[in-house]
C-alpha cells in the first residue's frame, strides 16, 4: 500500500485566488476549468539526438521516452503543478510519476503505464521500463494484464456501480494505491506520443480527462511536419512537432502553464539536457 499524496492539503492561503474560484465554483455555474496550450518543438534537434543515441546505445530510445523524461524534469522544477484535487482541496504528489498511454497490442486498445520517480531515472532506464511493459502487454502476460482480464469480465451494470462508488471515494478522500489497477492514481501527469509514422498533421488536440481526479495535466506530442521559418535573416525549412498541454485551472493558471511549457519545450528542443548529470545545470540555464 502506497500513499501517493502528502498527508496535508495545501493551505488555502497558498492557492491563487482565481484557482480557488474554479475550485469552489458551484456545479450549477457549469464552469469549465480546462485550459489547452499548444506550441511547437524543434523536431530536428530531438530526432538527431535520438539518432545519435541510437547509434551506440544499448536501449532503443524513442520520442515517447524523451517526452516522459522531459516532462518529469520540468515537473520537478514546478512542484506546485504536481498536484491533484481531492474534494475541494489540493494535495501535492510525493513523487514525480508520469503515466503514458500506449496501444496494448494484446487486446488492441489503449492502456496506460506509470513510470515512477521519472525525474530520477535516465532516458535508458525509462526506455527499458517502457519496453518491458509494452512487451508484457503485447503478450498479455503481465500481472496488470491479468487484472484487466478480470475487470473485463464484470458485467456492464456492476462495472458502472463499482466505478461510481470508487470514483466517489477517490474524489472525496485521500486514498492510498492498493494494487496494480489503481496505481495510475499515483501520477498526476499523462503523456501521449502521437507522432507515429503516418499520423496526420496535428493542428489542435484536446486530450480528454481520464475519469479520475489524479489526471491533472496531459501532454500530447504530434507528428513531425516541415515548416519554413526565418533564421539569421534567411528562410530555412525545419521539422517541428506540435505539443499540446491540457491543464486544470483549479490547480494552475495560464502563467504557470506557459512557464512550464517553456521549460519543457526547451528540454525537448535541446534534448542533450535530458541526460541526468547535465539536467540541473541545463534547467538553471533554461530558467535564466
Amino acid at each position: 500500500m502506497k500513499w501517493p499524496l502528502h498527508d496535508r492539503a495545501l493551505p488555502d492561503r497558498k492557492l491563487p485566488l482565481y484557482n480557488r474560484f474554479y475550485l469552489h465554483a458551484p456545479r450549477a455555474s457549469h464552469v469549465d476549468p480546462v485550459m489547452v496550450w499548444g506550441t511547437e518543438i524543434d523536431a530536428d534537434a530531438l530526432t538527431s539526438f535520438l539518432r545519435e543515441r541510437n547509434r551506440g546505445g544499448h536501449v532503443l530510445l524513442t520520442t515517447a521516452h524523451a517526452l516522459i523524461r522531459a516532462t518529469a524534469v520540468a515537473l520537478a522544477q514546478f512542484p506546485d503543478m504536481n498536484v491533484r484535487v481531492v474534494g475541494r482541496r489540493v494535495f501535492a504528489f510525493r513523487q514525480v510519476n508520469i503515466r503514458m498511454g500506449f496501444v496494448h497490442r494484446g487486446s488492441r486498445e489503449i492502456d496506460l503505464l506509470v513510470v515512477r520517480d521519472a525525474d530520477a531515472k535516465s532516458l535508458e532506464q525509462i526506455g527499458l521500463e517502457v519496453w518491458q511493459r509494452l512487451l508484457q502487454a503485447s503478450r498479455g502476460t503481465g500481472p496488470r494484464d491479468r487484472d484487466r482480464a478480470r475487470l473485463r469480465r464484470i458485467p456492464g451494470f456492476w462495472f458502472r456501480q463499482v466505478l461510481r462508488i470508487y470514483g466517489f471515494v477517490d474524489r472525496h478522500l485521500r486514498l492510498p494505491t492498493l494494487g496494480r489497477l489503481d496505481e495510475l492514481r499515483g501520477g498526476g501527469v499523462m503523456v501521449n506520443d502521437l507522432s507515429f509514422p503516418g499520423a496526420p498533421p496535428m493542428r489542435s488536440y484536446k486530450a480528454t480527462r481520464f475519469p479520475d481526479q489524479a489526471d491533472s495535466l496531459n501532454l500530447t506530442l504530434g507528428p513531425i511536419e516541415s515548416k519554413v521559418v526565418a533564421r539569421a535573416e534567411q528562410f530555412v525549412s525545419i521539422g517541428v512537432m506540435p505539443l499540446f498541454l491540457r491543464a486544470d485551472h483549479r490547480l494552475v493558471d495560464a502563467y504557470q502553464v506557459g512557464r512550464f511549457l517553456a521549460v519543457l519545450r526547451d528540454l525537448l528542443s535541446h534534448p542533450e539536457r535530458l541526460d541526468l548529470p547535465a539536467c540541473t545545470d541545463a534547467l538553471a540555464a533554461a530558467n535564466t
Binding site: 536501449v59 532503443l60 524513442t62 515517447a64 527499458l128 519496453w131 512487451l135 503485447s138
Partner: protein, 88 residues
C-alpha cells in the same frame, strides 16, 4: 532446431513489407531507425511474430538499436537465440 538465415530474413522482410505502402521498398539493409519506419507498434508486432514463429522469448534488454536497425540485424538477433548447430 536452428532455422536457416535466408528463411528467417525472408520471413521478417515479408512481415515488414506487408505493413503498408511505406514499407514496400524495405530491403534487408534498410535502416529502419534512420528512415523513421520502426515505431513501437511495429517493434512489438515484430517481436510477437518472431516469438510465435520460433518459440523464443525476448525481454526489454533485447530492444537495442543494434538489434533492430535493419531486417538483417533482426535476423542475427533471432539466430543468436539458438544454440550453434553441431558440426556435421
Amino acid at each position: 532446431m536452428k532455422p536457416d538465415r535466408p528463411q528467417v530474413e525472408a520471413d521478417l522482410l515479408q512481415f515488414v513489407q506487408a505493413r503498408g505502402p511505406r514499407y514496400a521498398s524495405v530491403t534487408p539493409d534498410t535502416d529502419l531507425l534512420d528512415s523513421g519506419l520502426l515505431d513501437s507498434l511495429l517493434l512489438t508486432d515484430l517481436i510477437l511474430h518472431i516469438e510465435g514463429q520460433h518459440g523464443i522469448e525476448f525481454d526489454s534488454h533485447h530492444v537495442s538499436p543494434g538489434n533492430f536497425r535493419t531486417v538483417s540485424a533482426i535476423a542475427d538477433l533471432v539466430l543468436g537465440q539458438f544454440p550453434p548447430r553441431p558440426p556435421a
